[in-house]
Symmetry: C2
Subunit: 167 residues, 2 copies
């Protein structure tokens, strides 16, 4: 099954993390590949303590503000290769490709390649894609799409990201 969490609202990565916890609680092994992310997030400390969850990051520690650099593309391509391996690896039941939609919209990786990977994935795998601006082609082949709408957000009141809550 392919699940997509997209939209502008808060909750996409955390929904995927929650799924990882649930799956690990059921005894499944989980692979999380984070695209476009290379900095420390508080969840990493907690996730590292959970035996059957593997998490890898494929981004630089800063945000991509304007044009992506060569390094961004290299890291994202490495992430996609690792994703392919994880999907092929019998060990993993749940594979989370966090912020892969962002990597796609920045054209760091090829949409056609991602579609091929998803279409040829074994049917018993649960693959979760997160990030705003999920491409229509991904939505078409997905089995579940949750769009998280931002009805209200405190950043509009000037509140910035807080450790333990946003990162």
């Amino acid at each position: 099954m392919i699940q997509v969490y997209t939209g502008e609202g808060k909750g996409k990565t955390t929904a995927a993390l929650g799924l990882a916890i649930r799956a690990s609680g059921a005894g499944f092994s989980v692979y999380i590949g984070q695209f476009v992310k290379g900095r420390f997030y508080s969840e990493l400390s907690a996730i590292k303590k959970i035996k059957n969850i593997t998490l890898e990051q494929f981004g630089r520690s800063c945000f991509i503000r304007a044009k992506p650099e060569k390094k961004d593309i290299e890291l994202a391509c490495e992430g996609l290769n690792k994703a392919k391996e994880a999907i092929r690896n019998k060990k993993y039941r749940l594979i989370i490709l966090d912020e892969i939609n962002i990597a796609l919209s920045l054209k760091l990786i090829s949409l056609r390649e991602v579609l091929n990977i998803l279409k040829s994935a074994p049917k018993n795998k649960e693959i979760v894609l997160t990030g705003r601006c999920a491409p229509l082609e991904i939505i078409k082949i997905a089995d579940l799409v949750s769009e998280i709408k931002e009805r209200k957000h405190y950043y509009k009141k000037g509140i910035r990201g807080r450790r333990g809550i946003e990162f």
Copy 2:
């Protein structure tokens, strides 16, 4: 801050669980009170292993299909009292009231009481409310509201809840 995760789509409880993991990774203590839920969910096994997360359930093991029973009301009221205690308890930084919106829409607990609890909560607490049909009064006082829209769901293809993915 008060955060609300509502809407029909999949991802509300998992988003809250992900927040719990993130907060616990930052060293914060987390209280999770689950309303209307009394059966086993896979996440319970994983959450139990994380030291600084406390999880309690205040529901029966079956779903409330028609009219709620006296036991449902008793359990939900107990949950609300525990929530009040957790919010007052200096130990907890994040308090998750999972499916409280459902308890409210079933009238198991009083909306006025919930609003009072939220309004009088210390400002340094992060309180997260989940469940579809969040009352407008809650949305009004919330600092963040994410509405999860169901754009596509595999249950429409006849696929039922699966262990480790839905429960």
